[in-house]
């Protein structure tokens, strides 16, 4: 029996690895050919497309068969550059243009719009160029220049900006450029992959799933129910050994390609096009985010089954795992696809700001406010979720309702990440680092969102009946909200000391400072940027550093190194916010069962958030920690039944600063009397 199961598992592992190899190998299963049709199809019949076609033709890239993706992408990028050059040659501005203008200047050192007009010809391109040039130099008319040389210099200095503008308008740049690169590369694929799409799909996806299930399902029959962490610290996959490092490395590579080099993994999106069309309609097409969502959900489902096998004796774990799988599959994956199919704004409705840091970015606000009733309802829900539902639910149930029941990041951590939970660092030092980092990210994201929304909103003068909510309204609203927040904090802290003095003062201090700065900035200085920084640049950096590098590359890639909640613990601003509420005002706690703790350390070891649970349990103290995500695993692995996650009144006994372990009557009474 045992032997048969082992063999099934071994077979499963073999099939899984084979499937994975096919999946990875599928990246190299195409040749590439760029055609004029592809360019027209991907870019549309625009000036851009014309120039790109011209560039590709001059470089002899069109209609050439590439065996190597690297070669193709390199040449494609060269074509883009070339197209940009060609565009600039026709639409750009050079010193010769300045020369010609200077030739028409009559009074030395005095700018004249007529001179500019005269310098450019009358063709349609010429006129638009002339207008563009005038547009960004006309202010020079009010300037005085000592001589022509100075004027010429001033105009020449403008050239790079002007050309940049041109490229932004008709050239290939920035985000659009990477999108084109991706799409064109995808369309240019041909050969084995596209010819045998179905077979490769089956081999890679069904293969890995089947293999994984053959490996996992026998675990349901491995002895009676009961959590077995046997061999975890002996196995190189789970003890920071070589296997773990390989897995981590692969995850990191995946994220790097996904975020920054998606054009190299277009084949995977080709594989998924049929799925995408089935869900999103015949016009839909799999992009990298669909690929990510699909893999994410799939991995969670498969590893969720592993959770069911491992924790099958524990009802809390079973229900909780079902819940995260449901929210990922339904809310994060399927519902947005369906919304998009019906032309509704596609959103993951459970993804709460500020984890969803782009939720209130201008483009989203614009899309939602102009998106009709549904759009407005969604916006309304997003605000309600972030400012009402989240805190109220945390009050009643602790932040676990989100972190380990609903959240997508949490969901991945609790399924794919479960084998790595023991790798989180439990030291006091890491707790210190954690607090600094996570609250810094939180404050940062708040300020950034304030700044972005502020920039987006109209001033009183710009307001229209449609866009009536002004910058001033916004500042007033934030003031009121923060005042209420600070008032509550003050009241609760007065009631009994829920934070250390230092923490409390820091929180009040930072909030007060923010109140003041936004007030001064708006009312006194009438600054364009709320915090004097350019909100666009800041958010680009946030997206790169926190949204992608931290949440993705480190957050998941470091599972086998630092445990499965690196992101949730050190980076997630939503977790930080909910943690504060969990500590200040919540009914949730982990109760310690009297004196039953034997200090074995299982709880601390398997706490994914790196909480030293034992430190509390062995003192007979409840665990009320901001970072606890309520996964319940400490309680599940405790061999003495010491820990229970539960909700009860938020009375002084919830956080016991000086707990008394029951069992020792003589000493306990003595301690009680001395008030210690």
């Amino acid at each position: 029996m045992h032997i048969i199961m082992r063999n099934i598992q071994k077979t499963g592992l073999f099939i899984f690895i084979a499937g994975l190899l096919v999946f990875i190998g599928s990246l190299s299963l195409s040749n590439f050919r760029l055609t004029a049709e592809i360019i027209d199809d991907r870019i549309g019949a625009t000036t851009k497309a014309t120039y790109l076609k011209k560039a590709a033709e001059t470089l002899h890239i069109t209609d050439r068969e590439y065996r190597s993706k690297f070669g193709f992408i390199r040449d494609l990028k060269i074509s883009f550059n070339k197209a940009n050059d060609l565009l600039l040659a026709d639409y750009g501005f050079t010193r010769e243009d300045v020369d010609r203008i200077m030739a028409h200047i009559t009074t030395p050192g005095v700018y004249s719009e007529e001179a500019v007009a005269a310098a450019f010809g009358n063709g349609s391109i010429d006129i638009s160029r002339q207008e563009k040039f005038r547009g960004s130099t006309s202010w020079m008319a009010s300037q005085t220049y000592h001589n022509n040389a100075a004027l010429r210099k001033a105009m020449e200095q403008k050239l790079p900006d002007l050309n940049q503008e041109v490229l932004q308008g008709v050239g290939f740049q920035g985000y659009a450029l990477s999108e084109y690169t991706f799409k064109i590369t995808k369309s240019a694929s041909e050969g084995i992959l596209t010819d045998h799409l179905r077979a490769i799909f089956i081999l890679s996806f069904l293969g890995t799933i089947l293999g994984a299930l053959l490996f996992i399902v026998p675990q349901f029959k491995e002895g009676p129910p009961g959590i077995k962490n046997n061999g975890i610290f002996h196995h190189p996959a789970t003890n920071r050994g070589w296997l773990g490092m390989i897995v981590g490395g692969m995850l990191i590579l995946f994220y790097i390609f996904l975020y920054w080099f998606p054009e190299y993994i277009t084949n995977w999106t080709l594989l998924l096009d049929p799925v995408k069309k089935w869900l999103g309609g015949p016009d839909a097409e799999a992009d990298r985010w669909f690929l990510y969502g699909f893999l994410y959900t799939l991995v969670m489902l498969v590893m969720g089954i592993r959770m069911f096998a491992k924790y099958r004796g524990n009802a809390y774990q079973m229900v909780r795992t079902t819940s995260v799988l449901f929210f990922q599959t339904g809310f994060a994956f399927i519902i947005p696809e369906i919304m998009a199919r019906f032309n509704l704004p596609a959103r993951d409705l459970k993804n709460a700001w500020p984890l969803d840091y782009t939720g209130f970015y201008d483009y989203n606000l614009e899309a939602l406010t102009t998106g009709g009733g549904t759009g407005k309802a969604i916006l309304f829900w997003m605000i309600g979720l972030a400012v009402i539902v989240v805190p109220v639910m945390v009050y009643f149930f602790g932040k676990r309702w989100y972190c380990s029941w609903v959240c997508g990041c949490g969901g991945l951590a609790e399924t794919l990440g479960d084998p790595y939970r023991q790798l989180s660092d439990k030291s006091l030092k890491s707790w210190k680092i954690e607090r600094w980092m996570v609250y810094s990210v939180m404050v940062f994201v708040y300020l950034m969102t304030l700044a972005v929304v502020y920039t987006y909103l109209p001033t009183a003068e710009q307001a229209t009946p449609d866009k009536w909510f002004t910058k001033g309204n916004f500042i007033a609203l934030i003031w009121v909200a923060m005042a209420i927040g600070m008032g509550l904090l003050f009241y609760w802290q007065k009631q009994r000391e829920r934070f250390s003095k230092k923490t409390f003062l820091t929180m009040m201090g930072i909030s007060g400072a923010v109140l003041m700065v936004i007030g001064i900035s708006h009312f006194v200085l009438k600054a364009e940027n709320l915090f004097f920084f350019n909100s666009y640049q800041v958010r680009a950096w946030y997206g790169f550093l926190i949204g992608s590098a931290f949440a993705g590359v480190v957050g998941t890639g470091f599972y086998p190194l630092m445990g499965n909640r690196v992101w949730c613990r050190f980076g997630c601003p939503l977790a930080a916010f909910m943690g504060l509420i969990q500590r200040i005002k919540s009914r949730f706690r982990i109760t310690t069962n009297g004196g039953q703790c034997i200090s074995c350390g299982n709880c601390s070891t398997y706490c994914e958030m790196g909480i030293d649970v034992r430190a509390y349990a062995q003192r007979g103290q409840n665990i009320v920690r901001s970072s606890c995500v309520g996964c319940g695993v400490c309680s599940a692995v405790c061999p003495r039944g010491v820990l229970k996650l539960e909700n009860g009144p938020d009375n002084p006994e919830r956080i016991q600063e000086n707990p008394i372990i029951i069992g020792n009557d003589g000493v306990a009474l003595n301690l009680k009397n001395s008030g210690k």
Partner: protein, 442 residues
């Protein structure tokens, strides 16, 4: 400022040191021959099974000791010279003390079986034992035989099982852990061990352990003259106080270090706590020698009071304990004897799956609740402690059982089933109270 020397860095010695530090400025030295730092002995099995590393079993980070000014010394004390108030180490160096706390723990019992010192035969108590076990079971062990069915025996069985080693368990009594567990509970555990393919041999005693030609264990022979081939033997027939090194001192020892209720030995300024302390007069309702984690901790707390100027009697509250047998957790509160006294009434409920049960003992005439054994369900210590202290009767316990449940949320609850059976058997008509957060949390 006195110099308090504590021999033993187990739970009792360390608890004493921590509480002395909390309450005073005395110089504290903790001596141990076993490990540099305090670790949890109860977690030894988890290191072997790969659930944890040794590092994970240390309840305090290494910087804790320095910060709290508790000096640690790794050395073996070979003799205590109470006349000169000094402890003498194995290298003949000495250390003076003003007060001495003996927290020296236990060692595994060996009853003089032939072959008990062969290679591959061992008990499990210390960290070194664990290393030896690791070494002995590294390769080539197909079957292990365990002698004596107690808690450490079950743990060893689970450990070996996790490495795919078959286990034969020789148990002297007719049921598992028969001197502690009543019949039904013993049978429940027996069934569960068999479910895990442990080959349990009841009423079987060890006669001898046989060597192969290299002096390694090859087989054991039972008193029924059965020979069982094996490559490893675990001696798990209990532990006894570790007092050999005190033999030539003036400190009085018998089965353990003799102490009064104040944990004082016959020599002033010398105390004994934890596994090694034997009470001349046991606390009411308790045994004179209690070798468990909790009592060690409580004695440590108590002696710290005494050593910091508040002479305190050892007054443990109601007995409680817990254990885990493979997948089945066990908790007990109050007193449940293996064989009930004539004055005691017994109520027993078992889940149809045979893996959960509740045993309650109460006084036949007064119906006062005396104790509970519970398997597969967790119960709240605080509530049972309160009920025992308040001397509640069984009806109160039965009707309020929902308050005591400590299982994780979303677990099935059994109070109704339990009460139904209780009502039937006792011709009562009690109705259960729903769980009350006010009663539980105040």
């Amino acid at each position: 400022m006195e110099h308090i020397v504590i021999i033993g860095n187990g739970i009792s010695g360390i608890t004493a040191a921590r509480h002395i530090r909390k309450r005073s400025n005395h110089r504290i030295t903790v001596i141990s021959a076993e490990t540099d730092h305090f670790f949890s002995r109860t977690a030894l099995m988890y290191i072997y099974m790969g659930h944890m590393k040794y590092e994970n079993t240390k309840p305090y980070e290494d910087h804790f000791w320095k910060k709290n000014r508790i000096d640690l010394k790794r050395a073996y004390v070979k003799r205590v010279d109470t006349d000169n108030k000094a402890v003498i180490f194995s290298d003949n160096s000495a250390m003076d003390y003003d007060a001495l706390v003996l927290a020296v723990g236990s060692k595994s019992n060996k009853f003089g079986w032939p072959g008990q010192d062969l290679e591959g035969v061992q008990g499990l108590y210390s960290f070194q034992d664990l290393q030896t076990m690791e070494h002995h079971t590294k390769a080539g062990v197909k079957r292990a035989v365990l002698i004596g069915g107690g808690l450490i025996g079950v743990e060893m069985a689970e450990m070996l099982h996790s490495r795919g080693i078959d286990v034969t368990f020789l148990v002297r009594e007719n049921r598992f852990w028969g001197n502690v567990l009543p019949k039904e509970e013993g049978e429940l555990i027996t069934r569960h061990l068999r479910e895990h393919h442990v080959d349990l041999r009841m009423e079987t005693e060890l006669k001898a352990i046989l060597p192969d030609k290299n002096g390694r264990v090859r087989a054991v022979v039972t008193h029924k003259e059965q020979e069982i081939e094996c490559q490893f033997v675990g001696l798990t027939a209990g532990v006894s106080p570790n007092i050999a090194f005190l033999k030539n001192s003036k400190i009085e020892t018998q089965r353990g270090i003799m102490v009064n209720r104040y944990l004082e030995t016959n020599i002033p300024g010398v105390y004994a706590i934890g596994d090694c302390a034997f009470f001349r007069e046991a606390p009411p309702g308790r045994r004179p020698l209690e070798q468990v984690w909790y009592t060690g901790r409580m004695m440590g707390e108590t002696v710290a009071q005494t050593l910091t100027g508040n002479r305190k009697m050892y007054e443990p509250g109601s007995w409680f304990n817990s254990a885990k047998f493979f997948d089945i957790e066990y908790q007990t509160y109050g007193t449940v004897n293996a064989n009930p006294a004539a004055s005691e009434a017994v109520f027993y409920w078992e889940h149809p799956n045979g893996k959960k049960c509740v045993k309650m003992i109460f006084d036949k005439s007064s119906e006062k609740f005396l104790g509970i054994n519970v398997f597969g369900i967790r119960m709240r210590h605080e509530i049972f402690d309160k009920w025992l202290r308040e001397e509640q009767n069984i009806d109160h316990v039965m009707t309020h059982l929902a308050d005591a449940n400590f299982d994780p949320e979303l677990y099935r609850r059994y109070e109704k089933d339990i009460l139904r059976k209780f009502n039937q058997e006792n011709h009562k008509n009690l109705s259960g109270q729903p769980k009350s957060r006010t009663r539980i949390f105040g």
